[in-house]
Subunit: 353 residues, 2 copies
């Protein structure tokens, strides 16, 4: 059984920032990366947090595949749109720059749209889109990613899990933050089933020949499937268009791996947007409408096996509230790896509560 | 077995326009509605075409639930956004006005976004989004719709099948036009299975108690399910926010029926958008990138049971090309109903080839 230690948010941030600085990035950029890694972990997304990403980010910064001192800049800015060149920096740092620019463009034009090239893995999509909420805007964030998913009707990996995130500011009843991969499941779930010797449900993946499989080992050699067949495939393709084609970033199998070729840039693309609600309605009025929609949804009787109906993003926000209080749970195995990182980068080890 | 007659595009248009004019709408508005109904039919979407919609649209125009002489206008226009009041006119006419405005705003600001209230059923989503393609823009079109779908974890109808359409201009290899309901299937497929006494696959719908069912009759009394559970539910909720909340249109169960209460406005809302590609890249360059993406996707080896990998929208475009040549197939049963319409509205009956 996995056991966990509890770590305070501040301490996790301190640790991540010091490792990233030691790996060669500036204090400011290390702070942005640490914030994203800690926020993801705080919201229960260890797969996008310190647990899974800190070590590989630090290794890429050292090896040069992730530029520790990127010169991020807008290479084109026309009306409500811009193209940002990330100079192969961390996707978190590049994404922060691009989302800030999208918000600035939206303040001027009512909406702002920024396509990004020459970037890297950017972690949790919702952390960028969420930036817009504080400005009374709807935020958008998508990224292309390493090819793992078969197109509908195909049997080879061609598209990433290509997430879509849309964050909408709400009223007293909370925001709606949809952050979804366009594949049925993430690769991690299949890897976990293989480790634990469990079958996977039919429909998650196909084997190397493109045949539906319940065998997680065969599935790991094959590819993930898009959610809802042609629908998830269509959404993934649209994400590829927005994240890669608008900026001229790499797409599909040209995108570099995160975990291999540490010295090679991934040339990943992203897309960010901000839509100012006040161009349509006074923000207070919109917030009141959001409250009515949330109350309406919450009043729907639940199906068997459900206690309540949740909003997109609500489970994660609840976890964050609890973990902020109780400390963030980090698995013992992960703690061991972070202790090794501490030695490697010569920073004080992570203190648990 | 269903038998079909072939009808020429022009003749179908003539017939639809005359019926709609006889039902009280202006020649110009009847032409817009007829164009949308014929285009949907031409692309193989009889559910959004003359076959299923002409009669009910004419009846609503006569009964007053669809305003035959609407005063459609922008009630708010700020920077790259606008709110359009449809004065309870046909969603096709209102949508055309709103999408034209979105394109105009995009010509000025690089992107344009129009939220619509006081509208009605708008037919096929892609016909609006597609308008942007000719302008070198990406088009967006969503609509809220009559509540038929349970939220994830719920057992009552709360959200519409809430389609999302995104249309992207391509190069020589064609455009990408994704037009998808956010439910697993449309209600029509379940109604058809009930008529034919076939079971439906598990996962399409739940019965009145919210239990998964393969019985199409029980499913018809229950509700449709969102595609991919929480993912489709999240997308449907986002569509509701964009289509209803930004403009202040009705949402959820407040949206009026299309087929009942013919004298009552539906108060439906839509959302349209246009994103000018040239703010990111020269259009020719983008088109070349699209061709490379399409070639990449088409080169993926096919899975068992598939001959080729299709782009979103490609099957419909192929049908349109064929039907334009061969005539549009209209089922005999539908022809009979259209003959009755011809009598009721005193127009020449539809001529088949």
């Amino acid at each position: 059984m996995t056991t966990y230690r509890r770590v305070e948010e501040k301490e996790l941030f301190r640790f991540a920032q010091q490792v990233l600085e030691a790996a060669g990035t500036s204090p400011e950029n290390a702070a942005i990366m640490a914030e994203h890694l800690v926020q993801a972990e705080l919201h229960g997304l260890g797969s996008h947090g310190v647990s899974r990403l800190l070590g590989i980010y630090a290794a890429r910064l050292r090896a040069g595949g992730m530029n520790p001192q990127p010169n991020i800049r807008a290479v084109r800015q026309v009306k409500s749109g811009a193209v940002v060149d990330g100079d192969h920096g961390s996707g978190m740092v590049v994404g922060r720059y691009a989302m800030d620019l999208a918000i600035k463009l939206a303040q001027e034009h009512g909406s702002g749209w920024v396509a990004v090239r020459n970037s890297s893995h950017y972690g949790a999509a919702f952390l960028f889109a969420r930036q817009a909420i504080a400005q009374g805007m709807i935020g958008f964030s998508t990224t292309s990613s390493v090819a793992l998913v078969a197109p509908f009707g195909g049997r080879k990996r061609a598209l990433g899990t290509n997430p879509i995130c849309i964050a909408v500011p709400g009223g007293e009843r909370g925001n709606i933050i949809l952050d979804m991969a366009t594949s049925v499941v993430a690769r991690g779930k299949i890897q976990l089933a293989a480790l634990e010797g469990r079958e996977i449900p039919l429909g998650w993946a196909v084997d190397e020949e493109g045949r539906p499989t319940t065998d997680p080992v065969a599935a790991s050699k094959g590819c993930l499937l898009p959610v809802g067949g042609p629908k998830g495939y269509g959404l993934a393709l649209i994400v590829e268009v927005f994240s890669a084609l608008l900026s001229g970033a790499a797409f599909g199998s040209q995108i570099g791996s995160l975990f291999a070729d540490l010295d090679k840039p991934q040339n990943m693309g992203h897309f960010f947007g901000a839509l100012d609600i006040s161009i349509f309605a006074p923000l207070d009025e919109f917030r009141a409408r959001m409250d009515r929609l949330v109350e309406y949804i919450k009043s729907v009787p639940t199906a068997e096996g459900f206690d309540e109906i949740l909003l997109p993003g609500e489970p994660e926000v609840r976890k964050a509230t609890r973990y902020r209080e109780e400390g963030i749970p980090i698995a013992e195995d992960v703690i061991k790896k972070l202790d090794e990182l501490a030695k490697e980068y010569q920073v004080s080890p992570l203190q648990s509560k």
